[in-house]
């Protein structure tokens, strides 16, 4: 199997924040921590584009390189996970990450940082699979249940794809080749009716 990846189709994302809500609900993410968020470019301007961003589970992850206590690791499926028992909450991973994925819950006064929390690709962490301890620290382990991340499976327009990198790339390629534009778009006739057939011009040739 290739590596687990996310892929967000900016042509489809409607900025509904369903993925953000699904993530929060599935993993019971605490207040103030956002494992996933929707970023919109040129917001309010015609042609704006949105994209859903979380940990991209980099193949050569900078967070793993900079962690001073070496608590971040790759699983065999290419998911980047970490051990919260070792994390010291230093924030180096946050500075290294190009996506702003690592999050730090506020604990106590004066903005003291808690242990790092981030998207786990719904793969839990280094605790017994689907145990209470795992859920409390890392959230749901859907991969061990044969499921894909909740954000992608919940996405109403299927803008956010998650899974084996090769498979979702094929899905996206097929989509990009077939979808067309305007009245050619899949589902257009369902929403707006079929385009009227062109009448042949009447009258004689001059």
């Amino acid at each position: 199997m290739a590596r687990m990846k996310f892929l967000c189709d900016a042509e489809r994302c409607i900025e509904c924040n369903g993925c953000v809500t699904a993530c929060k609900q599935e993993n019971e993410v605490p207040w103030g921590v956002n494992r996933r968020r929707v970023v919109t470019l040129n917001d309010g301007v015609p042609g704006e584009k949105s994209i859903s961003v979380a940990c991209m589970h980099c193949s050569d992850a900078p967070c793993i390189a900079v962690c001073p206590v070496d608590c971040i690791y790759h699983t065999e499926e290419g998911v980047v996970l970490h051990d919260k028992d070792m994390c010291i909450g230093c924030g180096y991973c946050f500075y290294a990450c190009p996506f702003g994925a690592p999050q730090f819950p506020q604990t106590g006064a004066f903005g003291a940082r808690g242990k790092m929390d981030k998207c786990t690709f719904c793969a839990g962490g280094p605790e017994k699979d689907n145990s209470k301890e795992e859920f409390a620290k890392y959230g749901s382990n859907r991969l061990a249940q044969g499921k894909l991340p909740a954000c992608a499976e919940m996405c109403s327009t299927k803008a956010l794809l998650a899974g084996d990198g090769d498979v979702i790339a094929d899905i996206f390629r097929n989509r990009a080749l077939k979808r067309g534009k305007g009245a050619e778009v899949w589902g257009w006739s369902t929403a707006y009716g079929k385009p009227e057939p062109q009448q042949p011009p009447k009258g004689e040739k001059s």
Partner: protein
Amino acid sequence: MIGLRKSLMCALVAVAALAGCGEKEQVVVYQQGKYQGKPDTRPWENAPGASLYTTSQWTKGDKSGWETAIKSRNQNQNEYTRVQ
């Protein structure tokens, strides 16, 4: 003698030039227990029936079975194959 020296030089230059072609692993490969934290279990190392509302099926420890389950689940995201 000159010929031998020349061929030796050529061989040395070739070795030096080809040294740049060595391929290094570009991706960090996770090896069990190679980071400082606790070792993690793999997703296929538990029985899927142990969790609620599971639709995917594989036998405990069967990696290829788990991969097949995930790949079929992946195709649920492709509405072109679902509808057409």
